[in-house]
Subunit: 491 residues, 2 copies
C-alpha cells in the first residue's frame, strides 16, 4: 500500500479515512459498521484510558462491571430513554445454533428462543439502576460514584472509523447522590475533568457548555458537553455529562433513608467519552504527511534511527544509542530504537512521520565524530543538528514545547473560527464560506432550532457555560434573546 | 445482611456463594447467568489485569481490539471449532425494536432482520484470523503477537459467580509465527507466564501440564494448562495456552512469503485467562471468617482504624496516622484510613476481616502514649502490639511474609492431595475420601478416559509437563502405560 495520502484540501473525508488505515490505527472488519482497532491505535486509546482512569479515581470514583445484555423490558421503564436508545440496537433472540437437517449448514435452533429478547447495551443506565436499587438503602450508601469501561453497540446506519461505529469502546460513569445540588456539582465536575483531559493531554481546546432540550441525552434534565472544532471547520461533541434528576431513581424505584429518616428518591448523573476521541485527536492535529500526536498520548515519543553503511558502523552507533536510551528512560521519555536491517532509513523516516511520532533522531558515523545527532520535529517538520550532551533534558523539554505548541496552534485555529453574526444572511454566509462555530442569538424554541437545522444543516452545539447575558434578537425570528448560543455543522 | 458466613465444612458451595456476595465481589444480575462485578471485586480484577498486561508486554505482545459480533459463517470455517463453540451462544438476529401497534409495548421490528445472524463472540479466533489474512504477507510481518482484553458470552446452563458465567471478562492472546517450533515455544512461554502469575501474585500453586485429546480446545493440536487445587479438593483449570498448528491459517487462508520466497501457511497459538481466576483466588485462601487476599492483589493492603472516645482523641490519632500514612505510601504500601464516625471500630474490624485486607492497625490514646499500635494479621488471625518506630518497614516486610505464607500453606495443602494410586479400587477410594489429584497410569485411549469419567466423575486434568517416563499398567484396563496422568473432579 502506498503511503501517500490524499491532501486535506482535496478531500478531507478521504484524507481522514486513508490516514486511519495507513497509520495502522483501525480498519473496517467483516462485520458491517464494526471496526478493528489495531495495536498502534489501541496503544493511543490505552494512554487515553490510563489518564482518564487516574482522573476518575482522583475524584473518588471506582470501577465496576455490569452485564452486556439488557432485558428488553428494562428500557421501557424510563419513557424518554427508550425512544432515544432502544430503537436502533442489536437484539439477541436465540441462545443456540445447530447443524441443519441436511448436515451442511449451521442454523439458528428455533427451539432455543429466549422468552424475553435481550438488547446489547447501547448505554447502561437501565441495568445499572436496576442494581443500584439493591445497593442503596441509606444516606450512608451515598454518594455512589461508579465508572465502567465497556463496549456498547448502537446500530448506526452510516458509520466511519472511530467517529461513528456500530460497536465502540467507552467509559460510562453512573453516580447517585443525596441531593440535587450534589448531583449537579458532580455533572459539572466531570465536564471539567473531560475538558482538562482534552486540553492538557489531547492538546485539543474545547468549549464547555450545555445542550438545548432537543440535543439532550434521552432521560436527562441537563446535558453538559465539551465541543471541539476539527480542521475542516466542523464541530465534534467530545464528551457529555448528564444530570438525570430523579428520572432513573423513579423508574427503578431507588429510594434511600435520608439523614432525617425520610424516604426519598436519589439524584443521578451519567457521563461518558468514547473511542470517538481517537477521531477527534486525528482531526485536530494531523497533516498531509500523516498523524501528528501530542507527546502525552504518543505511544512512542521519540524514535531513533541509525544511519550506517556496514556492521562496524552500526555497532558503533548501537553502543552510543544504548547509552542515550538509558538516560532518556530515566527522564521518562518513551523511546524506540529502530535498528531493523530489513528496512532503509528513508522508509523508516516516512513510516514514523506517518505515525505521528513527535521526535525523530537520526545518528550516523559523522554524528559520532562530532558528538551530535540530527533531530526532526513532527509538528513543525523542521530538522536541526544538536549536541549529544544533555540530550535527555533537551528531548524532555522539547516534548513539553511540542505539547504546548500543538495546543496553541489548535486554539488559535479554533478561536479564529468562532464568528459572531447578527443576521441570518450573515449566519448562512459564515457557515458556508468560513465555517466553524457561529455565535448567534436564538429565541430559545425547539421550533426555531429545527428550522435553522433544516435550512443550514447547522445545529446548536451548546450554550457556553460562560455565555454572557446580553440582549439580542434571534437570528432567524428576530424574537428576544438573552444569550448567544454556538451553532455549527457537526460530526 | 448478616456478615456471618456458612462454614466451609458445612457446605463449601454455599460458603463460596455467600462469601462472593457478602464481601462485595460480585452478585447476580437480572439477566440469567450474567453477573455484576462490584467495585471491590473489580479492583482485584484490575490488579490482576495490570500484572498480566505488564507480563504480556514484557514478552513482546501488543493489545488490540476486534469486533464483539462474529458472522455465523465464520464459525463454520474451522470444522472442529464450530462444534466446540458455535452451539451454546447468544445470537443476534435483528437490529431494531419498535413500539407495538397498540402503542403499549416495545417489540422486535421484524422488518429489521439481519441477512446473516451475528454471534456474540464466545472466543475470537475466527474474527481475528479473518483480519490476520490482511495483516500478514511476508515473514517480515511475523511473529504477530497480539492480545485482547474483552468480554465474551457462552450460554452456560448452570452458572456460578466468577466460576462459570454466561458473560465473562478475559484476555485472549492470538499469535502468528513463521515456524511450528516458534509457535510451540510461544505456547509454552505463555503457560510459564500464567504459572508465574498464579504462583507469585495469586499465591496459588499450579501444575503445568497438557491436556488429553478430548479435553483440548476446539481447533487446537495441543492445549497446555495450569491446574490448581481448591480447598474442597476439586481441581480448577486456571489458564490455557493452545498450539493451533495451521488450522486457522488454512481455514482463513493466511499465507506468507517465507525467507526463501515460498508461500506457506502461518502457525498459530491462542491463550487466555478470565475472571474465573477470581473464583480460584477465593477458593485457594479464604476461610470461615471471609476473604483472605494475598498482599500483591489486595486493593487495600493495610487498613488503619482509630479508637477514640471523643473528638479530641480522634484529632490526636488523626495527626499521628497522617504521618504514618506518608511513610507507608513511600514504601509502596496501599493503605486506607477508615475514620468514618458513622461506624464503630468493632463493625469495621469485622468488615475488613470479611474483605480479606491482609493487615489491620488499631490505634488509640493509649497507643499514642506508648508509641505503639495494635497490628492484626488476616492470614493467621493473630494480633500483636508493635512499636510505631520503623512502622513502614515492618509493614512492608510483613506483607512479603504474608504473601509467602499464603503460597506455602496452599502448596503444602496441594502437595498433600496428590496421591499415587495403583488400582481402580484405590483410585475410587482416594477420590471419594481424600479427594484432590489422583496420579495414575492410563492407557492413553479416549475410551478409557470416558469410562473413568462415567464411573467416578473424575477427568484427566493434565499430563504434567515434567511427568516421568515410567512403565505401568492402566488403572482401569491394565494396559501398558508410560506415564502417570493427573485425575480429579473439577470445577
Amino acid at each position: 500500500m502506498s503511503k501517500k495520502l490524499t491532501k486535506r484540501e482535496e478531500d478531507y473525508s478521504k484524507w481522514y479515512n486513508e490516514l486511519i488505515v495507513k497509520a495502522d490505527l483501525a480498519e473496517n472488519s467483516g462485520v458491517r459498521g464494526m471496526m478493528v482497532i489495531k495495536p498502534y491505535g489501541y496503544a493511543i486509546w490505552e494512554k487515553m484510558q490510563a489518564e482518564l482512569d487516574r482522573m476518575f479515581k482522583e475524584t473518588g470514583h471506582e470501577n465496576a462491571y455490569f452485564p452486556l445484555l439488557i432485558p428488553k423490558s428494562y428500557f421501557s421503564k424510563e419513557a424518554s430513554h427508550v425512544d432515544g436508545f432502544a430503537k436502533e440496537c442489536a437484539v439477541v433472540t436465540h441462545y443456540r445454533l445447530k447443524t441443519s437437517d441436511d448436515g451442511k449448514k449451521i442454523v439458528v435452533d428455533e427451539s432455543a428462543k429466549l422468552e424475553e429478547e435481550l438488547i446489547i447495551r447501547p448505554t447502561s443506565e437501565t441495568i445499572i439502576w436496576d442494581s443500584y436499587r439493591k445497593w442503596i438503602q441509606s444516606y450512608r450508601d451515598l454518594p455512589l460514584l461508579i465508572n465502567q469501561w465497556a463496549n456498547v453497540v448502537r446500530w448506526e446506519m452510516r458509520t466511519r472509523l472511530f467517529l461513528r461505529t456500530a460497536e465502540f469502546l467507552w467509559q460510562e460513569g453512573h453516580t447517585a447522590h443525596e441531593t440535587q445540588e450534589e448531583a449537579i456539582e458532580e455533572t459539572k465536575q466531570m465536564q471539567r475533568v473531560y475538558a482538562d483531559f482534552a486540553e492538557n493531554f489531547m492538546a485539543m481546546p474545547v468549549i464547555k457548555g450545555y445542550k438545548t432540550e432537543s440535543e439532550r441525552f434521552a432521560g436527562a434534565l441537563e446535558t453538559y458537553t465539551i465541543e471541539a472544532l476539527m480542521q475542516d471547520g466542523k464541530a465534534l461533541q467530545a464528551g457529555t455529562s448528564h444530570f438525570l434528576g430523579q428520572n432513573f431513581a423513579k423508574a427503578f424505584d431507588v429510594k434511600f433513608t435520608t439523614r432525617k429518616g425520610k424516604q426519598e428518591y436519589v439524584w443521578a448523573t451519567s457521563w461518558g467519552v468514547s473511542t470517538r476521541l481517537m477521531g477527534a485527536l486525528v482531526m485536530t492535529h494531523s497533516d498531509d504527511q500523516g498523524l501528528v500526536l501530542p507527546p502525552r498520548l504518543a505511544p512512542i515519543q521519540l524514535v531513533i534511527i541509525p544511519i550506517y553503511k556496514n556492521d562496524e558502523q552500526l555497532d558503533a552507533v548501537n553502543t552510543k544509542v544504548d547509552k542515550m536510551i538509558v538516560e532518556l528512560r530515566v527522564k521518562g521519555v518513551s523511546v524506540k530504537y529502530d535498528k531493523r536491517t530489513t528496512y532503509k532509513p528513508g522508509w523508516k523516516f516516512a513510516e514514523y512521520e506517518l505515525k505521528g511520532v513527535p521526535l525523530r533522531i537520526a545518528i550516523g558515523p559523522r554524528d559520532l565524530e562530532n558528538g551530535t545527532v540530527e533531530l526532526a520535529r513532527r509538528d513543525t517538520l523542521t530538522k536541526e543538528i544538536i549536541s549529544q550532551e544533555n540530550i535527555a533534558e533537551t528531548i524532555s523539554s522539547l516534548l513539553d514545547e511540542i505539547q504546548n505548541n500543538l495546543f496553541d496552534k489548535a486554539l488559535s485555529f479554533r478561536d479564529n473560527l468562532i464568528t459572531k453574526v447578527e443576521s441570518f444572511e450573515e449566519f448562512k454566509d459564515v457557515l458556508e464560506s468560513k465555517r466553524g462555530f457561529v455565535s448567534a442569538h436564538w429565541d430559545g424554541t425547539t421550533e426555531t432550532e429545527e428550522k435553522i437545522k433544516k435550512l443550514t444543516k447547522a445545529t446548536i452545539r451548546c450554550i457556553a457555560n460562560d455565555a454572557k447575558e446580553e440582549e439580542g434578537a434571534c437570528v432567524l425570528t428576530g424574537k428576544i434573546s438573552s444569550k448567544r448560543v454556538l451553532f455549527a455543522k457537526a460530526y
